[in-house]
Symmetry: C2
Subunit: 399 residues, 2 copies
């Protein structure tokens, strides 16, 4: 496939060149859209483009890239961790949206994992292997991504519950019944307070465990899903069910959720840090693990909260602590790793979307055992025998 | 995770044991359901269970396994080829529905790729690597599969078009607009005749290029999708739009589509064979490749047809020929490989769901080039250095 410069609609092209001021700088930053294939619903990009920037640039096509992790994330990093985000309930995770990758291997060979079909059974799924390999198998220089049509209608709803277990149970039952939602996020009382303090949504929300929903699709489909969700929430003791009253309010509300980590960071005292972590469990275990973890976080006496992508059995804990205080740090560490161990005991995973990196190498060993880590290590050895690429991440050279 | 015997509802258990007559035989055939986790929406199975049998046995749970290749396919083979089927438009392919695999490696080590979370970023995606590896990397002895809720409502619709291009264009536009369909199959005039000859649907269908649709979801959502599909079909010159009048008729109609290969086989003359092949292309190229390939198939003067999963950019050609007639076989071969080359020229794939096996090794080389095949070969070498597992499939030991 020849790499031709992106030549979409003129407004797109103007948008695209403007912020960088010229081709040379664009290329140096590796943040360009190289080809937009509207009729095929895919786009070829360089790895340093941010997903939000990508979506802004292609919006006139009526298409979007639906994987939505933290607002500043770039495609390359998103490939690295097999990230996801609030849209994963409906659209899946990064591995489901990458058609092919161009990769520079450790020995300098350049390889493209696939051509451009959305579906294939031709040989090993190298695309799916590089996605989530945290930069340890090769350097991604180009990615072809699937795009989805922007839904006709999107509504955002907010439902408060008396307990975190009621919220988690509602989420679990919705998934089990197959009621179509685009997003389903859980936020605890602390997170709702963070949103209130950060302002920007134009309302003061109840300081209660809350589910944020995004419903999307055709008008009739959305109305139907909302109705079913309301009924199910009521039967789980929902305190209130509110909708964004306008597109602007819906956008502000969702932004508040997406910015929650940054909002928490903004509330940091001097010298303190936010420990952000995630685990994933089989969905029936969600109410249990969330309830126990919430209690342990509250008992820390720190500014700590639970939020996340409950529709996938995946959630986050964020804890503000002072790393200079050894006793405090040790207590936080214990709560985090106890939560991870609890997820593993429930046949879950030490990370649903953040990756292993350095911090969860010992958890990965517990999760998978020596045979499976050994198989992963043999893949690493096949692609990078001299351990040149991101060494020490995911697992050690030798244990 | 301890492997506990399946202990679902009593009717399920009775169904499950009955055909085999006892535990020992069940285990020997490796066709058991080991665990059904209804609340987690997953199931642990042995590889020799057929997907239709699995769905029959778990139907009282309100859940089903949505990957639906040919009626006799077993889970192990479906893992091997990363298969799909008519449901792939909505539900994706095999790789999207496998949570973990237990695999015996070439050196005798037994490994489980994952625990049981539906979402994870913990280490390399070995599950996704083994799915589609055609038995060349390890022997799958157990699989945990995601399940989906059985939709509230399902309707089957049949739309005839004057030309195959009109049918293909309609399919492409529906996908592009994001109109929700569960299935969208294209059948050419020859295939419709096969269905008429096989009987069993209780009607005689027009011998015209036809789209078969399955709509599913909530009642309101289905009604909406049907309406949008009707309008779009009309604007593409649809000749007729008919619905199955009952659940029984819907089932018979869909079975007719699913059985189409067997129906064609049943029409074979003594000594003749059916060559069944598939390709996949970026979706905008579908009308072109289908039109050209259809003309070339017609020109063979044999019993040959096009059908397939047009919503994924993937379709099949089936050709009845006499392998004892060298001239005829050569002409068929030329049409097949010309179609494959055409798909590759369109940045497509030599196979969307059948796999490479022996027959498409040379096409895979054209599709991916030596660097990518080299990377696949290094994976093979890492897992099976002595080339013991399914040797000669996908690619050669040395080229």
């Amino acid at each position: 496939m020849p790499i031709v410069p992106y030549s979409g609609g003129s407004s797109l092209e103007a948008n695209f060149s403007a912020p960088y001021g010229g081709l040379t700088i664009d290329f140096a930053h590796m943040n360009r859209i190289l080809e937009l294939h509207e009729a095929d619903m895919d786009v070829v990009v360089q790895p340093s483009i941010q997903w939000m920037e990508l979506n802004e640039k292609i919006k006139d096509s009526g298409l979007f890239f639906p994987v939505d992790p933290g607002p500043s994330a770039m495609i390359g990093g998103m490939v690295g961790t097999n990230c996801s985000g609030t849209n994963a309930v409906r659209y899946g995770t990064m591995k489901d949206w990458v058609i092919n990758l161009t990769v520079v291997l450790a020995d300098g060979r350049v390889m493209k994992t696939r051509q451009r079909p959305r579906k294939t059974s031709a040989g090993y799924n190298l695309t799916g292997l590089f996605v989530g390999s945290e930069g340890t198998l090769g350097i991604v220089t180009e990615a072809t991504l699937k795009l989805a049509p922007i839904p006709e209608e999107t509504r955002v709803g907010v439902v408060a519950f008396p307990t975190i277990r009621d919220a988690a149970s509602t989420a679990m039952q919705l998934i089990r019944k197959g009621i179509p939602v685009q997003c389903m996020e859980i936020l605890d009382d602390v997170q709702m307070d963070v949103i209130n303090k950060a302002g920007g949504t134009g309302r003061t929300w109840k300081k209660l465990p809350t589910l944020f929903f995004k419903f999307s699709g055709t008008k009739a489909g959305v109305a139907d899903s909302i109705n079913l969700t309301k009924n199910l929430s009521k039967s789980n003791n929902a305190e209130s069910f509110e909708f964004a009253r306008s597109e602007r309010e819906a956008h502000d509300l969702w932004s508040a959720r997406k910015q929650s980590l940054w909002s928490m960071m903004a509330l940091r005292k001097e010298g303190s840090e936010v420990w952000s972590t995630d685990v994933a469990v089989p969905i029936s275990r969600l109410p249990d693990i969330i309830e126990i973890s919430k209690t342990e976080l509250d008992d820390l006496g720190l500014f700590a909260s639970i939020l996340g992508h409950i529709g996938d059995g995946n959630f986050h804990a964020s804890i503000m602590y002072d790393p200079r205080n050894a006793e405090e740090k040790a207590r936080v560490e214990k709560v985090v790793y106890d939560m991870v161990d609890r997820a593993l005991d429930m046949e879950g995973s030490c990370t649903g979307e953040h990756g292993v990196g350095l911090g969860k190498k010992s958890s990965l060993k517990k999760e998978l055992g020596p045979e499976t880590i050994g198989a992963m290590r043999s893949v690493k050895k096949a692609f990078d025998p001299h351990w040149l690429l991101n060494p020490g991440k995911i697992f050690e050279f030798k244990d």
